[in-house]
């Protein structure tokens, strides 16, 4: 069983709707990553945090995607206005820090936008 907990496992949204998913990182891991994995198994990095601070994010994340990792609460990734192209598996991973290279992934949230 994964030590990174992602909810929900599946999410179905209509175009234009908000889609929100959550991640509880492995205990003691201050760094959290979000990736999007498409149907061709390609990974796209979205954003990462160290504690509550954003370390890096891509341009796509800055527009329709928002994410946060509040203290004492699950991290979350939200798509403000879902598009068909957002249909993918969203993976959360955690680690002791960038450079430790020991990443633990959750099982993902599979988003379907219809």
């Amino acid at each position: 069983n994964s030590k990174v907990i992602q909810t929900p496992r599946y999410l179905v949204k209509g175009q234009g709707q908000k889609a929100k998913m959550r991640c509880i990182p492995e205990k003691g891991h201050p760094v959290v990553f979000w990736y999007q994995q498409n149907k061709n198994n390609e990974f796209k990095f979205l954003i990462n945090f160290q504690n509550q601070e954003v370390l890096q994010q891509i341009d796509m994340t800055e527009k329709r995607f928002s994410a946060e990792c509040p203290s004492n609460s699950p991290c979350s990734l939200e798509i403000q206005s879902s598009e068909a192209g957002d249909s993918a598996l969203y993976l959360c991973a955690s680690s002791l820090g960038q450079g430790y290279s020991d990443y633990t992934f959750g099982s993902g949230t599979r988003l379907l936008v219809i």
Binding site: Y35, N40, E42, F43, G99, S101, Y103, T104, F105, S107
Partner: protein, 110 residues
């Protein structure tokens, strides 16, 4: 573009045979990881090999790293049906999130 890539899209072997998945990358790295992802699951890290290491083992798995040719391999001996999965390499450069290859789909047949 992918900064790490596996060299085969799909491989098929029979149980008991050995198989090797190869990976090449294009930048200087601090570490390379091999992952296995089974259907409906997230990736699970199999082996972490740092840039100053040449080989790492984990049970039936053996990873090699050649920083001069910027390539790595993952060998699985005595394959089992449960090894059926997609295998990814991912690279760390110490400054950015790990970059993943597109994966090699391995099928192990009875």
């Amino acid at each position: 573009s992918q900064l790490a890539e596996e060299n085969s899209w799909a491989l098929s072997v029979h149980e008991g045979e050995s198989v090797t998945v190869n990976c090449s990358y294009k930048t200087s790295i601090t570490a390379l990881q091999w992952y296995r992802q089974k259907s409906g699951k997230g990736p699970a890290q199999l082996i972490l090999i740092r840039s100053n290491e040449r080989e790492k083992r984990n049970g039936r798995l053996r990873a090699t790293l050649d920083t001069s040719s910027q390539s790595s391999s993952l060998s699985i001996t005595a394959t089992r049906c449960e090894d059926t999965a997609v295998y990814f390499c991912a690279t760390d450069d110490g400054n950015n999130a790990p970059r993943f290859g597109a994966g090699t789909k391995l099928s192990v047949k009875p």
